[in-house]
């Protein structure tokens, strides 16, 4: 590529190489190296903030970064990772970390950290510099599913008696109306049947006729036959009346039964209404919502963030770094693919780490081994352990676990035991509705957590012994809750932990018998207040019942009396039916034949 340039008539062929260009190139390269050297810490800081921010899904701030060349060491101070679900808070923040990096592996593009020391780890801390930027906004489903958001949403209220009476719908009046109708029906039937009954005169007439037939002079056999025929006709009439009496008695029995039943219903009606009102005052668990979750939810979430540090902080970051799909791509940033061979060492591997987690001023050291996102290459899971006995906060604490990132997702397990944790002046609720705190308690907890294919499933038991609570409410309901809380001296809480480990947070469900205890107590409180009004209702209903019971009871007595009277008639008719004309006639004929008369 020669260039011909005319100059004062001399043609000169210039070299294709421009040697001064080499010097300029050297100068440019030297400049890049010098600038990088001078500003390496700042470049590292910006790069780490960007890279960790992408993996975290929200802004990461680093106050200062330092490096040393020999041995190759990186130190960072004031690292804060914004909580994507709550940008006003840091999901995790640490005072400093120091990483001893293998230079040989770095040249081959691998980050192998022999020892990582992380100091001053805290979770869920408010961000001093204001809200952090969120790169991947969590979906609504991912946001923690607490039993209730706050006390203001506690929908239950102690109902007034009038409201309850209106809602219950007193049934005494209806019962009275039904009874009245049925009894009136019986009264009509009773009167009809009574009208069809033979009266005393008719029975006396029967007796007179039988006497006339069976007594007096006998004219002969013809007369006997005529009397017998007449007696048979009379008996037929008596039998019809007897059958009418029996039907009447059956009707009386049925009427008596119905009237008795209705009278019993009427008598019970006021009591039943009062019972139903009282039942309405018994607040069930649903009505109360989950007071356990409401009261202890925030604190349990805070505890869980420490206990599930490996799952809530580390695992999602490792998983996101392993899977570019979970990190929202910046435009023009592209994507770096991994072509690591199956037998190659992991690209990112922290062989040993020590994290000093600060819990209420007490440092808990967690030792980690083999932190990586390529467990398939390493062939071992990430393991971690913590053991702190006889600390200021508790008698014994044990935690160990492991986790692996596999193609199917994250697999992990963890278990812990905490014995004799001293809780003192632990605020639970500071809302306008209710202030509550644990003045003192002894807390034991143990639990296990399993993760299969990113799905976390675990349970923990929190036992609070020697519980002394301080509480004050500002409304009728919260006052009642506060009173109940102050009576508690032991509380067992079952905690269920579940959710997708890659989502920014997990859900906790808290259950205890606190809700039932509160329900009963609130019901009793409401009942005590409503007792006067209930007495009025009872008196009113009873008066209505008494008013109706009088005539009905009289009817029942009449029925009973008449039944007895009908029984007598029946007996008399029975006696009349036994009359025989043959014997009388025989006697009369004997007298006439043998002259006895």
């Amino acid at each position: 590529m020669a260039t011909v340039h005319g100059f004062t008539g001399v043609v000169m062929k210039r070299s294709v190489i421009r040697w001064p260009g080499l010097a300029v190139f050297g100068g440019i390269v030297a400049l890049i190296v010098i600038v990088s050297w001078l500003f390496l810490d700042a470049i590292l800081k910006v790069s780490m903030e960007y890279g960790l921010g992408r993996v975290n899904g929200a802004e990461v701030n680093i106050a200062r970064v330092e490096h040393e060349w020999s041995p190759l060491t990186l130190r960072a101070y004031g690292v804060q990772a914004t909580d994507a679900a709550k940008p006003t808070h840091n999901q995790v923040q640490l005072e400093s970390f120091s990483a001893d990096i293998s230079a040989a592996e770095l040249l081959l593009g691998r980050i192998h950290i022999e020892q990582l020391d992380v100091l001053g780890v805290r979770v869920d801390q408010p961000r001093e510099q204001g809200e952090g930027e969120v790169y991947v906004t969590p979906s609504k489903d991912d946001v923690k599913n607490w039993a209730s958001a706050n006390w203001e949403q506690l929908k239950v209220s102690l109902p007034s008696t009038d409201e309850i009476v209106q809602q219950v719908g007193l049934q005494t009046d209806q019962v009275l109306a039904d009874a009245e109708q049925k009894i009136e029906q019986q009264r009509t039937q009773f009167n009809d049947a009574k009208a069809a009954l033979p009266d005393k005169e008719k029975i006396a007439a029967y007796q007179q006729q039988i006497k006339e037939i069976t007594e007096g002079d006998v004219e002969g056999l013809g007369d006997v036959a005529a009397r017998k025929k007449k007696l048979d006709q009379l008996k037929d009439a008596i039998r019809e009346d007897k059958a009418a009496i029996e039907r009447f008695r059956a009707q009386l029995s049925e009427s008596a039964e119905i009237v008795k039943t209705q009278i019993a219903r009427v008598k019970d009606a006021p009591g039943n209404d009062i019972d139903r009102i009282q039942n309405f005052f018994q607040l069930n668990e649903t009505g109360l919502q989950n007071v356990t979750g409401l009261l202890l939810g925030d604190r349990a979430r805070q505890w869980s963030e420490y206990l599930l540090l490996a799952y809530e902080q580390l695992a999602p970051m490792l998983a996101r770094s392993a899977n570019s799909q979970t990190v929202e791509k910046a435009r023009g940033a592209g994507e770096s693919l991994s072509f690591v061979e199956a037998d190659a060492p992991p690209e990112f591997w922290i062989k040993n780490a020590r994290t000093e987690v600060l819990i209420a001023g007490t440092a808990v050291n967690i030792d980690w081994q083999n932190i990586t996102h390529q467990h398939n290459l390493l062939g071992q899971p990430t393991t971690y352990q913590a053991r702190v006995d006889n600390s200021d906060l508790w008698n014994a604490f044990n935690l160990d676990g492991e986790l692996s990132l596999l193609e199917s997702g994250i697999d992990a397990k963890q278990q812990w035991q905490l014995k004799g944790a001293n809780l003192k002046s632990l605020g639970l609720s500071e809302s306008d509705e209710l202030t509550a705190s644990i003045a003192s308690a002894l807390l034991d907890s143990d639990g296990t957590v399993l993760v299969r294919g990113n799905q976390l499933d675990g349970e923990a038991i929190i036992r609070m012994l020697d519980l002394e609570m301080l509480a004050q409410g500002s409304s009728k309901i919260t006052n009642a809750i506060a009173a109940a809380l102050k009576q508690l001296n032991r509380l067992d809480i079952n905690t269920e932990i579940a959710g997708d480990i890659l989502s920014p947070s997990l859900s906790l469900n808290l259950n205890s018998d606190l809700d039932q205890q509160l329900g009963k107590l609130l019901g009793d409180t409401a009942m005590a207040e409503a007792q006067g009004k209930l007495n009025e209702i009872r008196a009113d209903l009873t008066a209505k019942v008494e008013q109706q019971l009088g005539p009905n009871t009289e009817l029942l007595q009449n029925i009973t009396q008449l039944n007895s009277q009908a029984g007598d008639f029946n007996q008399q008719l029975e006696e009349l039916l036994k009359s025989k004309i043959e014997d009388n006639l025989k006697d009369k004929l004997k007298d006439r034949l043998f002259g006895n008369s």
Partner: protein, 168 residues
């Protein structure tokens, strides 16, 4: 900017080989289309500096193609991803990935791979088009332009002063 344009016109109106100008255009295109902080761009820069390539056109080409690259980044990503996921090449990628040179080159980055291969594919076209434009400019357009009243007015301007200063 005026100086840069004046230099460009100087290069166009000089007797610099059209192929040398085409080479400057192509090298500038590589630098502009591919991500800047990549090792291969050091090689491009070295080539542009060490060979007698017109640096003015190289810089203008770099600026022009940097703007185009911003628009084409999503396409480069898809293109690079397709290349890097080509199953028959996985063995080669794995071997390259295991070397320090491979890692430093960042070939495994989708936009780097996509934009680099794209630049390779279109470089002959860019070179030929540049050669054709320069040649035609010199044969036809230059003379026609000089006759235009606008150009004659320009020749009395500061821009022309710069141009002639450079030329002198």
């Amino acid at each position: 900017m005026l100086t840069l344009l004046a230099k460009l016109f100087k290069a166009l109106n000089s007797e610099t080989s059209p192929w040398a100008l085409a080479m400057a255009m192509v090298l500038g295109m590589f630098l502009g289309l591919t991500p800047l902080w990549r090792v291969h761009n050091l090689v491009i820069l070295l080539g542009a500096l060490i060979f007698r390539v017109n640096l003015t056109l190289f810089l203008l080409s770099f600026g022009l193609f940097s703007g185009i690259a911003y628009l084409l980044d999503p396409m480069f990503h898809d293109f690079g991803l397709a290349i890097l996921q080509a199953s028959s090449w996985q063995g080669i990628y794995e071997a390259a990935y295991a070397t320090a040179v491979g890692r430093v080159s960042q070939f495994y980055h989708t936009i780097t791979m996509g934009s680099f291969v794209f630049s390779l594919l279109i470089s002959p076209v860019v070179a030929v088009v540049t050669y054709f434009v320069v040649n035609n400019y010199r044969k036809r357009i230059q003379k026609a332009l000089l006759k235009l009243k606008v150009v004659q007015m320009l020749r009395g301007s500061r821009f022309w002063q710069l141009y002639t200063d450079l030329r002198g």
